[in-house]
Amino acid sequence: MIKFTENQLKTPKFMRPVYLVTAGQSKFDRAIPEKKTEELCVDALSMAAELINLTPAELKGYIHSCYYGHFADHFGDQLLGEAVIHDRLGLDPLGNIGIKTGGATGGSTLWEAAKTVASGYSDCVLAMGWERMDEVPTDEGNFLISCAADKDWESPLGHIYTGYYAVMAQRYWQIFGKEEESFRKTLAEISVKHHEYARMNPFAQAPMKITVEDVLNSPVVAYPLRVLDCCLMSVGAACAIIADEKTAMEMAKNSNIKPLRIWVTSGSHTLRPADRRPMDIPLLPHETAEIYQDLEERFPGSDRYPGFSGFLGARMCVYYGYRMAGINDPTEDLDVIELHDAFTISDIQTYEDIGIRPYGQGRTYVESGDCYHTNPKTGQPGKLPSNLSGGLIGCMHAVGATGIMQTFEIANHLWGIWGDIHGDEKHWKAFRREKPADWTNLQVEGAKRGLAISHAGVGSHVTCTILMDPDHLLKADS
């Protein structure tokens, strides 16, 4: 049984309040042959500038250091791509650094950016992430992604990351899903939901009107996961501008954008699942040890934590994040979330890791309908809607940009501009996409607080980005 010390479990602290000032993103697609990566990054930065009524040059004038998230050098075939982008954005001679933590690269880039402002090193920083996954065919892409598994012990086994999640799906389905067909349908429902929300998002790569049956009849990749259970392989860029209070207010003063408080925390676990001795479940502020005392009795085979059914890294990033930002119960305290739905199974697992439901009961959150913008069972607003962007299954997974895209999406809700941005004909036309006749504004009305989870490997790195309207904080600054 592994135990952690008080030093290791200390609640992190920023030395001063940190703000998300603005953000932007490019189009996302499986391939964007007409644009170089630098053009996509310019698109994202220009959008961020436009949101606060600054020119790109004016915005750049505030930036003091830069954080670039780009995971897969071998995909884009450009080592030190951050130097190329930094040059093309005309940000030399500012200090910059590349960040890579697999699928969590976008979140980790925000983590570094926020800490830099919190420490006082910089008053304003750029966090920019991108991925170029269209330089190889899909099967070679799967090979390149599988290189993020342990190259001696796992990658040679099929060279397919879906497989490493499928074993988790199988175990989860049998232990917590009790092998019920209804559980498999709940997984499929997640894919239907995310592809449907992607239809309302001009930036999204995979808008689809599909049914549970379509998901269940889609080709098997790694049983029990099928093609429509899986995230996308994408190209695109996203950025965020992070600043201290004084700089943030000055930058946004000529716009309707209200800078948002931001906290970012991180957790980790082994690259190979269940490759450490077991431990007790770390408890979130609203949980007690009692709720897990009879877990094994209720779900035989669930005694090993962390095993194949939960992500310790995700649990730990919110363990730190909730305490840092004053969140007690996420379902009560938050208004909108974006989770890292790399596969339908990881969406359910993450509801448990982040305390929306106790371990073993993640499916009930989907089945309750409260993860929807409008609860299909009640017709009322969902209690805590998730992945209204379409997520990784419907919108994109341009790895280095993903965590930043999620943050952009949450910020749109908190700024109250989701409908203005996503309904804007300008974007639909520019991306050569047809706005659906039944386009629906997915703005979460009155949203004040949100969260995004950015996740790597089978949980090797996970970050939690929390955004709040500064007039609706849960904890006074100390």
Binding site: P33, E34, D77, E135, P137, D139, E140, G141, N142, F143, L144, I145, S146, K151, D152, W153, E154, P156, L157, G158, H159, I160, T162, G163, Y164, A166, V167, M168, A169, Q170, R171, Q174, P219, V220, V221, A222, Y223, P224, L225, R272, P273, A274, D275, R276, R277, P278, G301, G307, F308
Partner: protein, 196 residues
């Protein structure tokens, strides 16, 4: 074709023989929807890497000899002394002392069970295993961690006991030299090159 790249180590340095890369010319990528304008190029690349197993080399050598090696922390000052690891860990993840190598072949033959599994229909490029691949994650009584591998004979089921098999003939010296079969499998049923 010239000799495909091969390597050995002498005096602690790599000695290379043959070609480690093969050059091919790029070709244009044109946009047929827009007057066949040039959009980019293909970039062929065929190259061979050198990879050291370092302290894990005994594990991969042993597979070709029909043995499964694990490791154990024997540091008397470690809070977790006696913990047995499979996958083979060079160092104890707690105290970082170098672990003792342990032959756990007999343990694996009698105390290995499927913890979870999946059946893979689509593999990535460069996959060498026959599809569908039956991935199995195996737990062993007395071992603290779980090993990912694949099942060559039988149907996977959580909790089912499995027996290791080893590619002793034409080994690849990779993790694919280790596979598993369900209890009751005969020698004749094993894939080419594998033995109990």
């Amino acid at each position: 074709m010239s000799l495909y790249g091969q390597a050995k180590v002498k005096n602690w340095r790599y000695k290379l023989k043959g070609n480690f890369h093969f050059t091919h010319s790029p070709s244009p990528i044109r946009n047929v929807d827009d007057s066949n304008h040039l959009l980019g190029i293909t970039k062929p690349r065929h190259m061979i890497y050198l990879h050291s197993y370092g302290g894990e080399a005994p594990f991969f050598e042993a597979l070709s000899q029909g043995k499964l090696l694990g490791t154990r922390c024997d540091n008397p000052d470690c809070e977790y002394q006696g913990t047995l690891y499979q996958p083979f860990r060079i160092h104890c993840p707690d105290c970082l002392a170098r672990c003792t190598t342990v032959d756990m072949t007999d343990l694996a033959k009698t105390k290995g069970y499927i913890h979870t599994f999946m059946i893979c229909e689509r593999a990535g490029a460069f996959n060498t295993l026959d599809k569908p691949i039956k991935f199995v994650n195996i737990e062993f009584e007395g071992v603290s961690t779980i090993l990912m591998s694949y099942l060559s004979v039988g149907d996977p089921k959580i909790g089912k006991r499995v027996i290791p098999i080893f590619k002793k003939f034409d080994p690849t010296y990779t993790i694919t030299d280790l596979s598993w079969v369900v209890e009751g499998t005969t020698e004749e049923q094993l894939p080419h090159g594998f033995c109990f």
